[in-house]
Subunit: 192 residues, 2 copies
DNA sequence: CGGTCTCTTGACGGAGTTCAAAGCTAGTGG
DNA sequence: CCACTAGCTTTGAACTCCGTCAAGAGACCG
């Protein structure tokens, strides 16, 4: 149950066995079924969760009702609206499970206790946010500077397992164009 | 010289006079002339600077040589490639001054000393990164979900002083379309 | 003054959208 | 185990937005 998260934590910091025990004691194990909405626009995000099994996505909805997917998260990823969680502000995004999930769940309360009693986790969360920032900066760059075909090829190279797990129109909404056009791009690419 | 940064710091944390004195002692005051390249792709970013006066931009360059502006920073903003600075990785971006600047300059060394001796600054930097992340997430959303005219109107509302300070083609490269098209959008808008 | 940089304007082309229809696939209930 | 439905993907035609190229007009600086 904690094998994956222990491995994950050790990539970013050097926890003692005590630190890990504390984490195991504080973090809550949950099962969540497919298509569950974990966060809606306007709410304050009260969780930071680690995926042991399953797939979750964050997305925005624009005025026309179109969805823009911000992130697909699978085993070994953290999911939250970090700004909303930390500053108790109203979120603009939605978070929903795409598959049946098994997750480890921190609340504002348990996270605070964890950081207070085992400060080595500070480092981990700081690095995670920084990497997230730098990843999304480069994604913004690619969104502006590359064509649809380039974006798609780049995506399946970065996340080869995602296309096998999520519906294609979700990928289109991540890449920033219509599902119809993604379909056309794919047929064009496969003809080569 | 430290009036602006003191005010800034106090928005995010509650420093003692000692903390502020330490900051003043460690941070280096620099003048940098217009059109100076502070960071190039491939380098490791060795500064985190606070702008007292002037204007700086971060940008990427794609394979065709086109620039994509990531950020305009003016008085009261921090400028750095945070991931490169903190993890000593090679940066993919460029940072250059657009005006003559007067800045306060932290190196990896002085920042570490600062955080070590005045831990209250940890909180500030953490919140800054989080806000930056959430801002860029929403910008990615708008980049995908809105038209050129909407992006431009949103930009001049968010940053009304920027169009008066930087060349228009830089704004186009921030918004993600060609300078020619920005010009056309502007004439269309002004005819209404 | 002359050169460079910037902004504007127009014609044309191409990438991506929208709408509509049809084919597929998976899940559901009988 | 089959039949049905609902959601997903594909395909095509018409259209729109935006890019590219090229030319001209200012504006600024040495």
């Amino acid at each position: 149950m904690f094998a994956l998260i222990d491995l994950h934590v050790q990539k970013y910091t050097h926890p003692s066995q005590q630190d890990l025990d504390l984490l195991h004691a504080l973090i809550e194990h949950k099962k969540i079924s497919k298509k569950t909405l974990l966060l809606s626009e306007g709410e304050i995000c009260r969780f930071e969760l680690f995926i042991n099994k399953g797939c979750i996505r964050n997305y925005y909805i624009d005025e026309k009702g179109e969805e823009v997917t911000l992130q697909f998260a699978t085993e070994g990823w953290w999911v939250s609206d970090i700004a909303s969680f930390n500053e108790r502000t109203h979120s603009r995004m939605f978070i929903e499970t795409l598959e049946d999930c098994e997750v480890l769940w921190l609340t504002p309360d348990t996270k605070e206790k964890l950081l207070h009693q085992a400060p080595c986790f500070e480092r981990m969360f700081r690095i995670l946010v920084q990497r997230n920032l730098s990843r999304i900066q480069e994604r913004l760059f690619r969104t502006i500077a590359t064509t649809a075909a380039e974006k798609y090829l780049d995506f399946i190279e970065r996340y080869p397992e995602i296309p096998q797990r999520v519906a294609q129109h979700y990928i289109a909404s991540y890449l920033g164009f219509s599902p119809e056009f993604l379909s056309k791009v794919r047929t064009r690419l496969s003809k080569k």
